[in-house]
């Protein structure tokens, strides 16, 4: 064996041979594939960024850079602006000094508005400066949709993600510790039960699971009242519970990680008078950094990007980021500019985190994949 590998290294080191030429070819080929794949992967994100500044009306041209801001013509009709660009008519009236109770007809052009209410045209032009270009972002970040704002939805998403991650790791470590070694039949049975999670599709249990939560929630007196604090809290709690219930992967990772830690360590901790809880907290936890990182980098995107459950469980006024963005589409299916702004805003935080902590992601994912 040793002789063979020596020949191999010799073979590999021989300067001019068909081998090294083939290796060069491989390297060139690999580089080309990597460059092409990288461009194909990055381009959609760039295009998404650009498209969040392109008015839906101008989207039938290719834009590779932010479009030049175009003025809103004075011939534009008020109704069209409010339907296609979410122009808030109250804002317009306030800015132009038109009384609140005046009714602006949908077919009225901006020029007619200026004439009727004696507003200088320049003032209208100032109001609409950059209106087409920044419409998506202004609508997304500034307006209230279905009883909540972008910031409220983002806050709820961050809260749920943080709580879920923390609790899930604590609970999964406990499960892993309780199952470690898989020596007894009852431990094996529990382990197999968790493994079942991997093959049960979410779509199979979402309907009865929702039914179950309805049974439980309806026992709480204030739940039925729309907009009550109890209702909102219970809905968010349901999501956290779903996130921390444990999966095949979390169980596998922690069971195998804790299984490799020598039993002597626990015995000596016990002899020193530590309780099992103290052992987990002070001895086990510091040894589990690698699986914990693994868990965080695998679960973080899953929690942050969760859509089906929040879409089903949360009232629109209590929604997280993704259902919120979906609701902008349901309400104004014509304004893709807002949707693309929303999609870009929703992917940005996680991508920034990913790029900053990419080393942990690569290592954690590979460690997780080997365990799984």
């Amino acid at each position: 064996m040793a002789v063979e590998s020596a020949t191999v290294t010799q073979l590999r080191r021989r300067p001019v041979s068909s081998m090294s030429r083939r290796k060069l070819a491989l390297r060139v080929f690999a580089t080309v594939v990597m460059v092409v794949y990288t461009i194909v992967t990055i381009f959609p994100f760039y295009a998404l960024f650009v498209r969040s500044f392109v008015a839906t009306k101008d989207a039938s041209d290719l834009h590779l850079w932010l479009p030049k801001s175009r003025e809103v013509p004075l011939e534009a009709e008020v109704g069209n602006l409010s339907v296609f660009y979410q122009l808030d008519l109250r804002d317009l009236k306030r800015a132009l000094g038109i009384p609140e109770n005046e009714y602006l007809m949908a077919r009225m052009t901006l020029r007619e508005v200026a004439e009727q209410y004696n507003v200088p045209e320049q003032e209208i032009k100032d109001f609409f400066k950059g209106f087409y270009t920044y419409n998506g972002w202004m609508t997304l970040l500034g307006q209230e949709l279905q009883g909540t704002t972008f910031w409220g939805a983002l806050l709820r998403t961050v809260l749920i993600t943080a709580f879920s991650l923390g609790l899930m790791i604590v609970l999964s470590i406990c499960t892993g510790y309780g199952l470690a070694g898989l020596r007894r039949k009852d431990q094996m049975a529990v382990y197999n039960l968790y493994l079942l999670q991997m093959v049960i599709p979410v779509m199979l249990i979402i309907l009865p699971q929702y039914q179950l939560f309805q049974y439980i929630f309806n026992l709480v007196p204030d739940y039925a009242r729309q907009g009550s604090l109890v209702r909102a809290a219970l809905q968010l709690l349901a999501l956290v519970l779903i996130n921390i219930k444990g999966t095949a992967l979390t169980t596998m990772i922690f069971v195998s990680a804790i299984g490799t830690i020598p039993k002597d360590l626990e015995d000596s901790a016990m002899i020193d008078g530590a309780s099992r809880m103290q052992y987990v907290r002070h001895v086990l936890l510091p040894l589990l950094k690698v699986p914990i990182v693994s868990m965080v980098v695998i679960q973080l995107p899953l929690f942050y990007n969760q859509f089906l459950e929040p879409y089903v469980y949360l009232d629109p006024s209590n929604s997280t980021l993704l259902p919120f963005i979906q609701s902008t589409s349901g309400q104004f299916s014509t304004n893709f500019q807002v949707i693309y702004s929303g999609v870009f805003a929703s992917v940005l935080p996680l991508i920034v985190i990913y790029i900053i902590f990419r080393r942990f992601f690569v290592e954690g994912v590979m460690a997780g994949a080997i365990k799984g």
Partner: protein
Amino acid sequence: MASVTAPPAALQQASTGKRKMSSLERRRMWGDWAFIAPQLIIFVLLTIVPLIIAVPILFTDKSQFNDPSINQVGWSNFTAVFTDPSVQADYVPAFRRTITFVALNYTTVYIFGLSLALLMYEVGFRGGFFTVVYLPLMISGLAVGYIAVMMFAQETGTGNFVLQDLGIIKKPLNIYSASGTTVLLPLMVGWRYAGYNMAIFLSGLLSIPQETIESSVVDGANYWQRLWRIYFPQMWPSFILATTMCLIGSFAVFDELVAMGATYVNPNAKFLSILFFTYGFQIERLAMGMTLAVETFFPLVLLGVALQRLQRRVQL
């Protein structure tokens, strides 16, 4: 006398010793259960109990979650897919679309995941490229769906313009059309999960003993032979894991479809998951939706369990 009493004493000692052991073990077991219980209770309540409470509902005509009047209908929900034209009209096309999608999506596991893993394995692990391949996994299925729309909507797709300018396609693709969905959706989903599958295959490749590869090189095996005779036979656990995850995942594909307008306007994106969702939450056919979901997924769960067992046996 002594010779008579001695054996029972020894026996007694042995048995008390054994009892002591078992009481220690029992204490150990209860201790373990104190740690297992918190998560297990939540897990059973939210994963297993729903499957149980679903059973009586399957035999009723329950139309929504707080339906006041419920009638028993026997097995008719189960046979509806064969007899009820209104259900067939929804189910059959959705089933066809889903199966096509699953099949094509399964090929992307290899087109993206396996090829990239082999590439990485041959030229050495590149952390930078891994970061790029894994990037789409950071974004939601919903975002992938909207990116698909942004890139390949017929009139406004940025991807269409670019591909046309480069001369790769003549006519613009259309994500909303039946053929567009069939081809483009698996590609987008495959692109999203490329990093995930690559990690699975790469970990399989890295577990192959270096000696077997080196000796095959010495014996003059070409790359193709090495692939089929050395790599793949030793990567069975990876293949099975990737297959299980892809099967379960693609049958449950949902977010991408919602982004493509499946829940209201786009009929070509109405897959089985959308059907169950609309039956349960939108058109008040809850019991029927649950039954169809059970009928569809039950064989799949069995298959998944079989694959898991197979994987464990291969790993041993």
